[in-house]
Symmetry: C2
Subunit: 331 residues, 2 copies
């Protein structure tokens, strides 16, 4: 198990969720010596629904993905993904090294037929409730066809996981006019327009949270920078608020009074409610939790995995992708 | 004059600034029938410092830049930039069509020797006070050498306009390790490291507001998306705050009490304090104000123009660029 507070956080989050959802079972993968103590003093009925799967190696958070793939064949990550591949687990949830997790998932599970590259998708808080965005970092550079495939995968996740009908899909650009952006973007724009998807056209950075669309499609470089810009902006505003509150006794008293307001405000955009990015386009479900996730956040990631498994998202993506016919790569 | 509330806002902002800064003079460029009424009832001493320069055409906000350049030779934008070119104005400030303004500025003023492409730079609020970021949209795709030139231009603006010594410069990427990002980014990373600039290396989206660096260098596509993501995030949080305040009488009362806190908070990150993006790399000073700027915001843009003129930023960029020797374009 990876992540900044493994295995405590993932195990406690799992056990909490098992308690709330009696139909679930869990396989905990990792160093037995680290996992076993966490199961002590738990009820027999709960323990019966938990299997320990030993793994002798750990992938470090900064380990190059290729090294992890080559040298860590008995890492918790690799063993967990093997379980998905063998059909013994419905999904793998990990807070470990993102690059290594993606490389291992691609290597073991393989991409779905018709999918050129898997992508990372996550929900983002928006004025419309939430917006899905992909790719968030798996593919720094993308072809027009890959962007179109991301649109199809985003459409399936928005339908199956968010329960939306005809999700509105936008392609991220630096303007909404047809003449804007690179040749790759213009080509994808043209192909998406001709597709049966509910494609609304180019959208801008402001539209990620405006609620104008349900799915924002972009390459992994732009998606990752944009996601981290959001994080940075929110963190700065929170820090500035704290500083202003500390500045005077009057502000401190007022902030005390306004505490319920701040609390409900924070709850609306709580990043823990959006934790768990799905790797889509693979023959299996893999969810990446934030490395610094707490139990609430990690439980959100597991719940997403459960929902995707119930809906059979990979199978659905494979089937829907086969219905689309985007032109072959020409770049 | 362009922008959403032209010519009222720009003219009033200019007159206010002239009143505050007795050494300044202004040339107002636009349709005389629209400008003259705005100068009525102003003191004779103020009017003596204002010149009206007629322009018979207006560039529409959605007009393609090439059309504006070809067909609008007597637009307020073109005439104002001509004044800079002829040395009759020290700088041009416009709230008009960004693309047309950049195309006209490039055509009339030309780029500085040693500069391949001009870029758009602006200050962004950060935990360190402010961070400069470029390019914000002039060049969707950039070569390694162009990114290096942006770093030099950012260094000069940070030194001359923000008054920083040895500004810390970062290159925006999706990770800080050397192996991250495209070949172009890796090449620029290597060249910047070998340069005399105070280059700190790759930075991530969160670092734009973290205060870790003074200048963030990126291509115009990423820069524009990132800037608009910030805008969207701030706008969403403000909207959610308003909704939460409206939700209950208790919250409304508390918000009333916390109003001074909200006010000082808003002042810290007020976008009007950061209005005015500079076009750098040209043989002259051109500042783009936000189209929706109010008088306070427009005045900030004019003040930036005044500061750049006092410091002679274009001359400084030309001189500093000549001291650097980045490898020739190889992409």
């Amino acid at each position: 198990m990876g992540g900044d507070s493994a295995p405590g956080v993932p195990v406690r989050a799992t056990l909490e969720l098992l308690r709330a959802e009696p139909a679930l079972e869990a396989i905990l993968v990792g160093l037995p010596d680290a996992l076993e103590p966490l199961l002590e003093h738990r009820s027999e009925s709960l323990r019966r629904r938990v299997t320990l799967q030993p793994a002798t190696q750990v992938v470090a958070m900064d380990e190059p993905p290729a090294d992890a793939l080559r040298r860590k064949r008995d890492s918790s990550m690799r063993v967990a993904i093997n379980l998905v591949h063998e059909g013994r687990a419905a999904a793998c949830v990990s807070a470990g090294n993102t690059g290594a997790l993606m490389a291992t998932a691609k290597f073991v599970l393989k991409t779905l037929p018709g999918v050129d590259r898997p992508a990372i998708i996550s929900a983002i808080p928006s004025l419309g409730g939430q917006t899905l965005m992909l790719d968030l970092g798996a593919n720094a550079v993308c072809t027009a066809r890959q962007l179109c495939e991301f649109a199809v995968m985003g459409d399936v996740v928005a339908s199956d996981v968010l329960g939306l009908e005809r999700p509105r899909i936008g392609l991220l650009n630096i303007g909404t006019e047809d003449i804007k952006g690179s040749g790759t973007l213009k080509l994808a724009h043209q192909w998406l327009r001709a597709s049966p998807l509910n494609y609304v056209g180019f959208v801008e950075g402001t539209d990620i949270m405006s609620g104008r669309v349900d799915v924002v499609v972009t390459d992994g470089f732009t998606g990752n920078v944009s996601l981290k810009t959001m994080e940075g902006t929110a963190r700065m505003l929170a820090q500035v608020t704290r500083e202003e509150i500390r500045r005077s006794v009057f502000s401190r008293v007022m902030a005390l009074g306004a505490a319920p307001l701040f609390r409900s405000l924070a709850a609306r955009v709580d990043p823990r409610r959006y934790n768990g990015a799905s790797f889509v386009g693979l023959q299996g479900i893999v969810i990446k939790s934030h490395g610094g996730a707490d139990e609430t956040a990690f439980a959100t990631a597991i719940s997403t995995a459960v929902l995707e498994a119930q809906q059979g998202v990979p199978t659905r993506i494979g089937r829907v992708m086969a219905e689309h016919s985007f032109p072959e790569h020409s770049e």
